[in-house]
């Protein structure tokens, strides 16, 4: 699965100037794109959704694209983040920023729990085990009705104004909401960029490319995998927390295995193992879903068919294909 992956260390061709530039300043470019993004979208709620799913896919892609493990259980990471953020507000009346921290912690924690069991397996086993464990998380949250609202979802995560250094900001105003969430997403992009550019980021890719050689070079492959999975949980937990604040409720569907599948689709559509791929995939996917669902209620049919076509004819995804062109 490495054909589509971005490798910074490869010597660029003559026409690759823009690609090199984009790689060097990727966090900045992402920030700029996110800042002007709502101006080009038909409505802000869609833009917020794209940010959140883009962040979710960014976290997923760390495991899928960079580490090379296909996880089918990321809904558990997103959902636990959302539930912990929601529970912190609904049951403990925590301030919004502490609730977001609770969500990130939830993502990290559940990723650690799932990771410890699943990380020794690989390939299809990893996909199956993560999916099964995430179903387990689904049932646990489903059963804990007092805490999670069970089938009805967790309601009442109402944030009207947020207090920022003494400033009262109206969180109900869509554009304000967008930029508050955007600030977190941009920060996440920056952190992700730092992780990938760090020596640890190089180890992650080394484990994907040649596990044997990575082990021979003295790296602890299992620990690298586990740590990467836990980090991914942090990003997805943040996405879940932001989702909870954005929707004001946490539906139980967030833990459904289709939410895990959705992020695989998004990452594949955008281009796995590329920095911008997940966000582009999320944008294309959600805009597409939006257009198709206006036209027919059976949008899943169209989406599924497009997904099949992607796997068959377009495995590098949108951004992955562009990169392959740019490098040449």
């Amino acid at each position: 699965m490495s054909e589509a992956t971005e490798s910074i260390r490869q010597s660029p061709g003559a026409a690759a100037g823009w690609y090199e530039f984009a790689t060097k300043h990727r966090a900045g470019i992402a920030a700029l794109a996110i800042l002007i993004f709502p101006l080009v979208m038909p409505f802000t709620a869609l833009a917020v959704n794209i940010l959140i799913y883009g962040l979710y896919a960014l976290g997923f892609n760390l495991v899928f694209g960079y580490l090379g493990l296909l996880s089918f259980g990321h809904a558990a990471l997103l959902g636990t983040g959302a539930y912990l953020c929601g529970i912190a507000i609904v049951h403990f009346a925590w301030p919004w920023y502490a609730a977001i921290a609770a969500g990130v912690f939830g993502g990290l924690l559940i990723a650690l729990l799932i990771g410890v069991i699943a990380i020794r397996t690989r390939g299809i086993y990893f996909a199956m085990v993560t999916m099964a464990l995430s179903q387990c998380v689904y049932y646990l949250f489903y059963q804990a009705v007092d805490w999670t609202g069970g089938e009805n979802g967790l309601r009442g995560i109402n944030i009207r104004t947020i207090d920022l250094f003494g400033l009262q900001i109206d969180f109900l105003e869509p554009i304000v909401r967008y930029y508050v969430i955007a600030a977190f997403v941009i920060a996440a992009f920056f952190v992700m960029s730092r992780i990938l550019a760090s020596p640890f980021g190089a180890v992650i890719e080394a484990v994907r490319e040649n596990e044997m050689r990575a082990r021979a070079s003295g790296y602890d492959v299992i620990l690298t995998r586990l740590l990467t999975f836990v980090l991914s949980g942090g990003f997805c937990g943040l996405a879940g927390a932001l989702q909870a604040l954005h929707l004001s409720i946490v539906p139980i569907e967030i833990l459904h295995y289709e939410t895990s599948g959705l992020v695989v689709m998004i990452a594949l559509l955008g281009g796995m193992g590329t920095f911008f791929g997940p966000m582009i995939g999320a944008a294309v996917f959600l805009v597409l879903e939006n257009l198709v669902s206006v036209w027919t209620v059976h949008w899943q049919l169209i989406v599924g068919a497009i997904f099949i076509a992607c796997v068959l004819f377009f495995p590098a995804g949108i951004w992955g294909t562009l990169i392959a062109r740019g490098r040449r």
Partner: protein, 294 residues
């Protein structure tokens, strides 16, 4: 715990075996396809669901249940072969992730097509008249239909075993699972073997869906839940091992049934706890080949 007699526990054990029989049928198809084609069929649940719906449709046309038991596996098997030929075959040699993702997308399409054809809400599926009622099995009265499910599963297993062990085509299949290259060198058309194996696997999935229909009714989402649970069965039993699928399927059925007797709220979670324990003790499952994991 005063109300728990030996008879009740024994009856619950039988109920677990009947539930386990459905898991076994579902998981052997999954395992057969994986063992042979190294394809994890994420659409297996969709084939199972379509099997139940085809049965429902045939009965609404005036067919009876016994006819369905023959027609449904045939139709789903042919459909599975068409899917293998058109969608999965181009992906061979491109790693295991691509077929997995493709079948995942396919399950979306299949579920949505069924929703378009039959609507989003479920249907009840009547137990065939001769199989209604209960029989005394020594420890108490047990639903006849559940006994039938156990018997039908045993029959399918026996037929599959005879086919794989006693026919020359079964020999080719077993050889193809070991080393497709050598089989190809010997002049066997391996892609035809894979086509037929995928057809058999999906046919059994459709059969399982039909058997499950009178127990739980028919809804478009019925394949999704059992898929996750069947993954547990295949992981516990060992990926690609048919014997492992049988043993683990029955074990999972009994575990679910027993926990729903003693701690109903933990019934769904118990499956996954079982998997976690097995994975920690024996990562490759009961009969799995270690090479697939490490």
């Amino acid at each position: 715990m005063a109300g728990l007699s030996f008879d009740l526990i024994a009856l619950q054990l039988f109920a677990g075996l009947a539930l386990g029989a459905i898991y076994v049928l579902f998981a052997i198809g999954l395992s057969l396809i994986f063992g042979m084609l190294t394809v994890v069929n994420f659409a297996h649940g969709a084939f199972y669901m379509v099997g139940a719906y085809v049965g429902l449709y045939l009965i609404s046309l005036g067919g009876n249940f016994w006819l369905c038991l023959v027609a449904v596996p045939l139709l789903i098997g042919l459909f599975g072969m068409a899917v293998e030929r058109v969608l999965i075959r181009p992906l061979y040699g491109r790693g295991i992730d691509y077929p997995l993702l493709l079948t995942f997308g396919l399950s979306y399409v299949m579920v949505e097509c069924v929703r378009i054809a039959f609507g989003k809400t479920g249907y009840p599926f009547d137990t065939p008249e001769v199989l209604q009622g209960a029989v005394n099995i020594g420890v108490g009265y047990f639903p006849l239909y559940r006994l039938f499910v156990i018997g039908a599963t045993a029959a399918v297993l026996l037929a599959l075993w005879l086919f794989l062990e006693k026919t020359s085509f079964g020999l080719i299949i077993r050889a193809g699972a070991r080393d497709p290259q050598i089989v190809r060198v010997l002049g066997v058309d391996v892609s035809r073997v894979w086509l037929i194996v995928f057809g058999i696997g999906t046919a059994i999935a459709g059969f399982a869906g039909l058997l499950a229909a009178p127990l739980q009714g028919v809804i478009p989402e019925m394949g999704g839940t059992i898929l996750a649970e069947a993954f547990v069965v295949t992981v516990v039993g060992g990926m690609g091992s048919i014997g492992g699928a049988v043993l683990a399927g029955l074990l999972v059925g009994v575990v679910v049934s027993m926990t729903s007797l003693f701690a109903p709220e933990m019934a769904k979670v118990s499956i996954f706890a079982l998997m976690a324990i097995v994975l920690i003790v024996r990562p490759q499952g009961f009969f799995g080949r270690a090479g697939l994991l490490s």
